[in-house]
């Protein structure tokens, strides 16, 4: 992820509201994507993001440039998103289903409408399967395979060891394979099930 200019960051740390506004505008789109991938709808993702920026504002002085600023933001976004999911689960007992996930970026000339439908369905099933993962596995999977962070970056965001990221990634993949095999063997092709 791109980093904001150091002088803007320094001014925001110094309490300049205009600089903080600039910081918010710089990062909000990327962080909205992260919160959306955890909470599953844009309205809640935006509310979570507001909490994220409020927390950033209140704690920005405590950030130390030992790690990239964006990884600190990611960590707050992931924690707030997981916290929101927990609160929602406590309140309603269910988790908001993931919104429809079409494939707007699919190359228009490379796939037929049927392929688009199949991909859309795969995406939807996969999102639901990811949502069924335990908290840390879900966070690891989203950061590693949705946000495409490296193991080291994921460890920095989650505040854990790289080995923990690998282990959680391993368990997440295994669990996803089990979920997808059980729920719909056709979603992710698995010739072994036919053997």
């Amino acid at each position: 992820m791109a980093e904001i200019a150091p002088d803007i960051l320094a001014r925001a740390q110094g309490g300049e509201a205009a600089a903080f506004d600039e910081l918010v505008r710089f990062y909000r789109q990327d962080l909205l994507r992260v919160t959306y991938r955890f909470v599953g709808n844009y309205e809640d993702a935006r509310d979570v993001l507001q909490l994220v920026f409020i927390k950033v504002y209140q704690n920005i002085e405590r950030w130390e440039p030992r790690a990239p600023f964006w990884s600190w933001l990611y960590r707050i976004a992931v924690n707030e998103s997981l916290g929101w999911k927990k609160r929602e689960k406590r309140r309603f007992g269910v988790v908001t289903p993931i919104e429809e996930t079409p494939y707007p970026d699919a190359p228009s000339g490379s796939a037929s409408p049927l392929d688009d439908v199949a991909r859309e369905e795969i995406g939807e099933r996969l999102s639901q399967a990811i949502d069924m993962l335990p908290e840390m596995q879900r966070a690891t999977f989203v950061l590693r395979y949705r946000e495409e962070l490296s193991v080291k970056e994921t460890a920095a965001v989650l505040g854990c060891a790289e080995g923990t990221v690998k282990a959680n990634g391993f368990h997440a993949i295994r669990r996803l394979r089990q979920i997808l095999r059980t729920e719909d063997p056709e979603v992710i092709p698995n010739e072994s099930s036919a053997l």
Binding site: D21, L32, Q50, E99, I122, R146, K166, L176, R177, L195
Partner: protein, 242 residues
């Protein structure tokens, strides 16, 4: 097919997918997969899962998603009791207060546990010594007083019976150099005795005052005062006798 079990191979595939980078498959895995359709399939499935995750697009956010975003955020920040100003200064004030409370608390505990405890022991010991000194002093004073009274009554009786032959025994028991007074106390003697008694009372008051002062200041020197009491009383006795 190689002796590797399919579960082992598939776990290795998941682990490889979760690792930092695409590591080459070991010869044993390659050997197994070359002849195992199930593991070949699992390898493809994992690759497709990860590819689907990477390429799975999110829906576009609503156009108005950012409308009023910053305004609401600032409103929340300023309306929030943990605003930045409070967050900055409040944390410092709370931290300082916590440090002070902790410091005083630890100080009080330390004073009670360490130094005051030793002081208390020392004070208790000193108080005990003081009480013993006072008791000894008072006993000494009482003993002197009774000695005075007894001696005075003897002398009066002696003078009253100057002619009594039985008193020769007493006279002989007196230390050498000690002389008997007139047969009966004169008015002057009586006044002198009164003055001596008054002086002795004054001295006693002074000494007791000093003793009280010493007690109050918890200074050392009770032995000295005790000696002074005995000395003054002795001088009074000698003066009275002479």
């Amino acid at each position: 097919m190689s002796p590797l079990h399919c579960n082992t191979v598939q776990e290795a595939l998941w682990e490889r997918a979760a690792s930092a980078g695409p590591a080459p498959l070991s010869p044993a895995l390659v050997d197994h997969m070359s002849s195992c359709p199930a593991c070949q399939s699992e390898r493809r499935a994992v690759a497709e899962l990860l590819e689907a995750s990477r390429t799975m697009a999110d829906p576009e956010p609503p156009q108005d998603i950012w409308d009023g975003f910053e305004e609401r955020m600032w409103r929340e920040i300023h309306g929030n009791p943990v605003s930045r100003a409070w967050g900055r200064w409040g944390r410092r004030v709370v931290g300082l207060a916590a440090m002070l409370v902790l410091g005083f608390g630890l100080g009080a505990v330390a004073m009670r546990v360490a130094r005051p405890g030793a002081d208390e022991v020392a004070t208790a010991e000193r108080r005990d010594r003081l009480a013993e000194d006072i008791q000894a002093g008072l006993a000494n004073d009482a003993r002197l007083q009774s000695y005075f009274d007894e001696l005075q009554s003897i002398l009066v009786a002696y003078r009253a019976s100057d002619q009594d032959p039985s008193m020769d025994v007493f006279r002989r028991s007196l230390p050498s150099g000690m002389v008997a007074g007139p047969a009966a106390p004169s008015e002057a003697d009586r006044q002198r005795l009164e003055r001596q008694r008054a002086t002795r009372e004054q001295l006693r008051s002074v000494v007791l005052g000093m003793l009280v002062s010493e007690i109050e200041s918890e200074s050392h020197g009770f032995a000295y005062i005790d000696r002074r009491v005995a000395s003054i009383a002795g001088q009074q006795l000698l003066y009275f006798i002479h």
